[in-house]
Homo-oligomer: 174 residues x 2
DNA sequence: TATTGTTATACTCTATAACTATA
DNA sequence: TATAGTTATAGAGTATAACAATA
C-alpha cells in the first residue's frame, strides 16, 4: 500500500493525518448512510431524503413552504418537487397554496406522515446507536457533535458554488 | 421548532445530544459530498465513486481484482461492473483475466488514469481543506480522525445486514 | 423583473436476477 | 456446488431548461 501524495506545485498538501481523517469520515458516513437507507426502506418504504423532509416538518411543528423545506436537504427545485410528489402520493403530506403569497406552496404533514415518521424513528435511532454511537464514549459524542456542528455551519456559510475558479476539463468517464 | 421525541416503548431513546450529533454529522457530510462531487465532475469528469476506485488502485500501487476493488466502495457486483465499464471506456483502467484464477478480473490503472487522479487530487484536497479542515484545530482533526476510524472499523466488523430483525412494512412512498 | 414552483426530459446510478465460466 | 464477474433490465433519483403564475 502506497501513501497518496497530495503535494502539488499550486496547492499546499494536506497533512497525512488530514487526508486519513477525511477518508475515514467519508467512508464511515457512507457505510452509515447505506445502512440507514436500508432501515428506512424496510421499515417505512422511504428514502433518507424523504425522512429528512418529514423530520423537518415534524421539527417545524407546522407547515412549511417548499423553499423552507428544501434548505440543505435537496439541491434543486425540481428534485424537491419530485420528492414532494412522492410524499403526497403516499399520503404523508399535502400541498396547498399559501394565501399570503400565491406563488408559494405550503406543505403540511398529514397524520399518516407523522405516524409513519414515529414508526420509523425508533429503528432509525437504533441503527445509529448500533453503528455510530456504540463505539463512542460520551466525551467522543460531545466532541464529535461540537465539531460537526461547527463544520456544518461553516459549510452553510460558504458561497454555494463557483467563486472558486474551476480548472481544466478532461474528457473522461461520464 | 420542536424537539424530536425519540422515546418509544421498545427502544431506549437517544440522548438529545446524540441525535443532534447524528444529524449534524449527516448534514455536514452531505454538504461535503455534494461539493466534492461537483469538484470532481468539473475538474476530471468523474464521480466520487470513480475517484475512490482510482484512489484504491493508486494506493495498492498495482492491479486489483474486482472483488478487492469493490470492498467498501460499491455494494453490488453489478454496480462495480458498471463503474469499471465507465472507467475502462474512459481509458482510466484496463481489465484482464487473472492467470492464476481465470474467474477473476484484474483491474489495472492506466497512465491516463494515474494522470487524471493526480490532476484531480489537488482540487479535491482543496475542497476538503476549505470546507472541512478550515474551521478545525489540529486537535479537532486528530480527535475526529481517531473517532471516525474507530467508527468505520466498528461498522466494517458489523454483520452486513439482516441479523437485526426488520419490523413492520408500511405501504408508502416508493 | 424577480421569485416560487412545476413539467419535460435526459441522464446517472443502483440493485436484483439470470447467466457464463472457472475452481 | 461455490465463486467471480457480466448482462439485462427496471426503478429511483437528480439536474437543466423551459414554462406558468404571482409579486
Amino acid at each position: 500500500m502506497t501513501e497518496i501524495d497530495t503535494s502539488d506545485g499550486g496547492v499546499p498538501p494536506l497533512a497525512p493525518e488530514q487526508l486519513a481523517t477525511y477518508f475515514a469520515l467519508m467512508e464511515a458516513v457512507s457505510l452509515l448512510q447505506h445502512r440507514v437507507e436500508q432501515q428506512l426502506r424496510a421499515d417505512g418504504g422511504i428514502s433518507y431524503v424523504q425522512f429528512q423532509l418529514l423530520a423537518r416538518l415534524v421539527q417545524a411543528d407546522g407547515p412549511l413552504t417548499m423553499t423552507q423545506l428544501a434548505d440543505g436537504v435537496v439541491y434543486s427545485r425540481s428534485g424537491l418537487t419530485y420528492q414532494a410528489g412522492l410524499l403526497e402520493t403516499a399520503g404523508l403530506i399535502t400541498r396547498s397554496t399559501l394565501p399570503e403569497d400565491e406563488r408559494a406552496t405550503l406543505v403540511t404533514l398529514t397524520e399518516q406522515g407523522a405516524a409513519l415518521f414515529g414508526r420509523v424513528l425508533p429503528g432509525h435511532v437504533e441503527v445509529s446507536r448500533v453503528l455510530l454511537f456504540d463505539p463512542l464514549t460520551a466525551d467522543d459524542v460531545r466532541h464529535l457533535g461540537e465539531v460537526m456542528t461547527r463544520v456544518r455551519d461553516h459549510m452553510r456559510a460558504q458561497p454555494p458554488r463557483s467563486a472558486a475558479p474551476r480548472k481544466r476539463r478532461a474528457g473522461t468517464a461520464r
